[in-house]
C-alpha cells in the first residue's frame, strides 16, 4: 500500500487533538486582537500565544494529512471529498468578497446619490448637507471636517493595470507548473512555482507602495470617507488573501522540492492553484469596479 496504490476503503482518522488546539488558538487570537484594540497591555501576549498555537496546529494537522496521503490512505473518494471541500470553501470566500462589493455598489448607486439629492427624497439633501455633491470617486465627503476626503485617488492605468498583468501572468505560471506536474517534469514544476511566487511578491510590493502613496501623499485612508472605506477593505482583504495564497504556494514548493506529489495524485497542489486562480479572479473584479469604472 503506497501513494500510487491507495486503499479502497474510506479512511477514517483516529481521535485527534489538533482541532481542540486550533480552537484554543482561535480563541486567544481573537481575544488578543480585541484587547489590542482596547489598548490592554496583555492583548499582544494573547494574540501572540493564539497565533503561535494556530501556526503549530496548522503545521501539525497538515503534516498528519500529508503523511496519511503519502502512505496511501486516501482513496479516490477521499480525493473527491477534498475537491468538494475546497470548492465550497472558495465559494464561501466569494460570498465574503461579495458583501464588500455589495457595500461598494450600494454606496455608489444609493447612499452617495441620495445624500447628493439625486435620488430618494430631496429633504435628506436639503436638511443635512445642502452643499454636498454626489460624485464618484468621492473626494469631498458630506461632512469634510469629520471625514476629510482624499485629494485624488489611485488611477487605474498605472500600478493597478500593471498589477493586473502581473497577477494574470502568475496564473499562467501556476498552470505551467501544473502541466509540468502532470507530465512529471519536476524542473518545470519548481520553476513554474518559483515564478508564481516571485510574481505574487512583486504584486504585493506594488500594492504596499500604492498604500504608502495613498496614505502619505493622497490622504486616501480608511478615514477618508466611503471611498477610502470600500477601497481599503476590498483591496486589503484581497492582499490578505494573496498573502495566504503565497504562503500556501511556498509550502507546495517546499513539498515539490522534497519530491512530494505524483502526476495522478496531487490534490494539495491543485487546491492551492484553485485558490490562486480565485484570488486572481477577485482581483479582476477589483480592477474593474474599484479602480477603473
Amino acid at each position: 500500500m503506497d501513494q500510487s496504490h491507495p486503499i479502497k476503503r474510506y479512511f477514517l482518522p483516529k481521535p485527534s487533538y489538533w482541532p481542540l488546539l486550533g480552537s484554543f488558538g482561535l480563541f486567544f487570537t481573537v481575544i488578543g486582537i480585541i484587547n489590542i484594540i482596547h489598548e490592554h497591555w496583555y492583548g499582544h501576549y494573547f494574540f501572540m500565544a493564539g497565533a503561535i498555537l494556530l501556526a503549530y496546529m496548522m503545521f501539525g494537522w497538515f503534516s498528519t494529512v500529508i503523511h496519511e496521503s503519502m502512505s496511501g490512505l486516501h482513496s479516490k473518494k477521499m480525493d473527491k471529498t477534498y475537491r468538494w471541500g475546497m470548492f465550497w470553501f472558495i465559494a464561501s470566500e466569494v460570498a465574503f468578497f461579495g458583501i464588500f462589493f455589495g457595500a461598494l455598489f450600494y454606496a455608489r448607486n444609493i447612499s452617495v446619490p441620495a445624500l447628493g439629492g439625486e435620488i430618494a427624497s430631496k429633504e435628506t439633501h436639503a436638511l443635512l448637507w445642502p452643499h454636498f455633491q454626489a460624485l464618484w470617486p468621492l473626494l469631498k465627503n458630506p461632512n469634510p471636517t469629520a471625514y476629510p476626503g482624499p485629494s485624488e485617488v489611485i488611477p487605474a492605468w498605472g500600478i493597478p493595470a500593471l498589477n493586473t498583468f502581473i497577477l494574470l501572468s502568475s496564473a499562467l505560471a501556476v498552470t505551467f507548473a501544473h502541466w509540468g506536474l502532470q507530465r512529471n517534469h519536476r524542473t518545470q514544476v519548481n520553476m513554474g512555482l518559483i515564478i508564481t511566487i516571485l510574481l505574487g511578491l512583486t504584486f504585493l510590493s506594488f500594492q504596499a507602495y500604492e498604500y504608502t502613496e495613498a496614505y502619505t501623499r493622497l490622504n486616501l485612508t480608511l478615514h477618508s470617507g466611503i471611498y477610502g472605506s470600500t477601497f481599503f477593505m476590498l483591496t486589503g482583504f484581497h492582499a490578505a488573501h494573496v498573502t495566504i495564497g503565497l504562503t500556501m504556494l511556498t509550502i507546495i514548493l517546499i513539498r515539490c522540492l522534497k519530491g512530494h506529489f505524483l502526476p495522478e495524485h496531487h490534490f494539495g497542489f491543485e487546491a492551492v492553484s484553485w485558490y490562486w486562480h480565485f484570488v486572481d479572479v477577485i482581483w479582476l473584479f477589483l480592477f474593474i469596479f474599484v479602480y477603473w469604472l
Partner: protein
C-alpha cells in the same frame, strides 16, 4: 467517563451528542433570560431591571437562541442522522467535524462573558443595527463581533462537511432523488450556510472597522448609510431564517409518514419546494425594512417576492396533510409535536404574510405582532421540530424508549403554554405595544400577564423534557432496530443503539 473521548473525538455520533448537549445548555440559559424578560413584563412599570439591563437580556436571549440553541441542535441532528440515513461510515471530514464543534464553546464563552465586562453586554438587539452598535455600542460589542466570527467559521466548516458527506458518501444505489428528505433539507441548508455566514462575517467586520478604524460604511457624514447596515445584515438574515427552519421541514417529513403508516405524499415536490424556498430567501431581505424609507417600487417588489414564498411553503403543508389523509395514524409524542408544528407553524406563516403587506407592515413594524410572528415560526416551528426529532430518534441513539406518559405531559403542557405565551402578543402588537421596551401602557396589562404565566409554564415543561431524556439515556424499555412500527429507511435497519461505527465502505 473518559474526557479525552469527547475532546478529541472524530466520531459523528459523539460529535452529534456534543452539539445536542451544547444546544440544550444554551436553550436553558436563553430560556432563563426569557423568563426574566417575561418577569419584568408581568406588570407595567419598571419592576426588576433597568431598561439597559433589559435590552442586554433581549439581545443575548436572541443571539443565544438563534446561534446557540436552534442552529447547533440541527447540526447535532445532522451529525447523528445523515451518516446513518445514507449509509456513510462517518462524516466525510471527521477531524474538521470535531473542530466545527469545539469552536462553539469558546465562542459562547466569549458571548456570555460580555455580561461581566465593563459597560456590560451588547444592548442593541440581536440585529445589531448601526448606529446603535457602531457609535453607541458598549466596548463588549467587539467581543460579540469576534464571537460571531468564530460561529461563522464553525458553521461554514460544518456545512462543507455536510455537503461533502451527502454528495460523496452515499451508499451505492442511493441516488439523490432517493435520499430521505431530512438529508435533502440539510444539503440545501448547507448551501445557504456557505453563502450566508460569510456575509454576516463581512458585515460585523465593517462594524468593527466603523467602531475603531475610522471607516464610514454606516455613517452618512462620510458618504455611507446606516440603512446599508440593514440591507447587508438582512441579506444574511433572511437566508438565516430558513437555515433555522428547513432542516425542521426535513424532520417533519420523516415523522409524519412513520406515524401515518403511509409514504410521504409528493416527494419530488417537497424537494423542489425546499430548493425554491432557499432560492427565494435571497431575494426578500428588504421586507424587514419597509419603514426605513426605501424606494416604494422596491417595497412592492419585495412584497411580492415575499408572498411568493407562501407557494412552496403551502405545497409543503399541503403534502404533510395529504400524507396523513386516510393514514392509519397513531399519536406518539414525536407525532404530536409534528402535528402541532404543522398547525402552529402555519399560523406563523400567515402572520408572516400579513407582515409582508407593505401598508399593513407600516403599522405592525416593531410591535409585539412581529415578536408573536417570529416566535411562532421559531418556537412552534424550529424548536418543535427539534423536540419532535429528539423524541423520534432518541430510541435509536440510546437503545431505550423514552417514557411516553412523560412525553405526552411534556407535549400538552408545551402546546398549551406556547399559545398562552405568544398568542396574546398578536393582540398586543395590533393594539400598538412596541417591542424591546421594558415598560408599557396600562391597557396592555392583562395580555402581558397571560403571556408571562404561559412563559413560566412553558419553561417548567421543558424540565420534564430534560428529565425524560436523562432517564432514557440511563435505562428504559429496550428498543428494537425498527423502533417504530412503520419506520422506513437505512437508519432503522441497524441495531438500537446504533453501533459506534455503523457502516463500512
Amino acid at each position: 467517563m473518559n474526557i479525552k473521548r469527547w475532546l478529541f473525538t472524530t466520531n459523528h455520533k459523539d460529535i452529534g451528542t456534543l452539539y445536542l448537549i451544547l444546544s440544550g445548555t444554551m436553550f436553558f440559559i436563553g430560556g432563563m433570560l426569557a423568563m426574566l424578560i417575561r418577569l419584568e413584563l408581568f406588570h407595567p412599570g419598571l419592576q426588576y431591571f433597568q431598561p439597559n439591563t433589559y435590552n442586554q437580556m433581549i439581545t443575548i436571549h436572541g443571539l443565544l437562541m438563534i446561534f446557540g440553541a436552534i442552529m447547533p441542535a440541527f447540526v447535532g441532528l445532522a451529525n447523528w442522522m445523515i451518516p446513518l440515513m445514507i449509509g456513510a461510515p462517518d462524516m466525510a471530514l471527521p477531524r474538521l467535524n470535531n473542530w466545527s464543534f469545539w469552536i462553539l464553546p469558546f465562542a459562547f464563552s466569549i458571548l456570555l462573558s460580555t455580561f461581566f465586562m465593563a459597560g456590560e453586554a451588547p444592548n442593541f438587539g440581536w440585529t445589531m443595527y448601526a448606529p446603535l452598535s457602531t457609535q453607541f455600542g458598549p466596548p463588549s460589542t467587539d467581543f460579540l463581533i469576534v464571537a460571531i466570527h468564530l460561529l461563522g467559521i464553525s458553521s461554514i466548516m460544518g456545512a462543507i462537511n455536510i455537503i461533502a458527506t451527502i454528495l460523496n458518501l452515499r451508499t451505492p444505489g442511493m441516488t439523490l432523488m432517493k435520499m430521505p428528505l431530512f438529508v435533502w433539507s440539510w444539503l440545501i441548508t448547507a448551501f445557504l450556510l456557505i453563502l450566508a455566514m460569510p456575509i454576516l462575517a463581512g458585515v460585523v467586520t465593517m462594524m468593527l472597522f466603523d467602531r475603531h478604524f475610522g471607516t464610514s460604511f454606516f455613517t452618512a457624514a462620510g458618504g455611507g448609510d446606516p440603512v446599508m447596515f440593514q440591507h447587508l445584515f438582512w441579506f444574511f438574515g433572511h437566508p438565516e431564517v430558513y437555515i433555522m427552519i428547513l432542516p425542521g421541514f426535513g424532520i417533519i417529513s420523516e415523522i409524519i409518514p412513520t406515524f401515518s403508516r403511509k409514504k410521504l405524499f409528493g416527494y419530488t415536490f417537497m424537494v423542489i419546494a425546499i430548493a425554491s424556498i432557499a432560492f427565494l430567501s435571497f431575494i426578500v431581505w428588504a421586507h424587514h425594512m419597509f419603514t426605513t424609507g426605501i424606494n416604494v417600487y422596491a417595497q412592492i417588489v419585495f412584497m411580492y417576492t415575499t408572498m411568493l414564498i407562501a407557494v412552496p411553503t403551502g405545497i409543503k403543508v399541503f403534502n404533510w396533510v395529504a400524507t396523513m389523509f386516510r393514514g392509519s395514524m397513531t399519536f406518539e409524542t414525536p407525532m404530536l409535536f409534528a402535528l402541532a408544528f404543522v398547525c402552529l407553524f402555519t399560523i406563523g406563516g400567515f402572520s408572516g404574510l400579513m407582515l409582508a403587506i407593505v401598508p399593513a407592515d407600516y403599522q405592525y413594524q416593531d410591535t409585539y405582532f412581529v415578536v408573536a410572528h417570529f416566535h411562532y415560526v421559531l418556537v412552534t416551528g424550529a424548536l418543535f421540530t427539534i423536540i419532535a426529532g429528539v423524541y423520534y430518534w432518541l430510541p435509536k441513539w440510546t437503545g431505550h424508549y423514552y417514557n411516553e406518559t412523560l412525553g405526552q405531559w411534556h407535549f400538552w403542557l408545551t402546546a398549551i403554554a406556547v399559545n398562552l405565551t405568544f398568542f396574546p402578543m398578536h393582540f398586543l402588537g395590533l393594539a400598538g405595544m412596541p417591542r424591546r421596551i421594558p415598560d408599557y401602557a396600562l391597557q396592555f396589562t392583562a395580555f402581558n400577564e397571560i403571556a408571562t404565566i404561559g412563559a413560566f409554564i412553558l419553561g417548567a415543561a421543558q424540565l420534564i423534557f430534560l428529565y425524560n431524556i436523562i432517564m432514557t439515556i440511563r435505562g428504559g424499555k429496550h428498543a428494537s432496530a425498527k423502533v417504530w412500527e412503520s419506520s422506513h429507511g437505512l437508519e432503522w435497519t441497524v441495531p438500537s443503539p446504533a453501533p459506534h461505527h455503523t457502516f463500512q465502505t
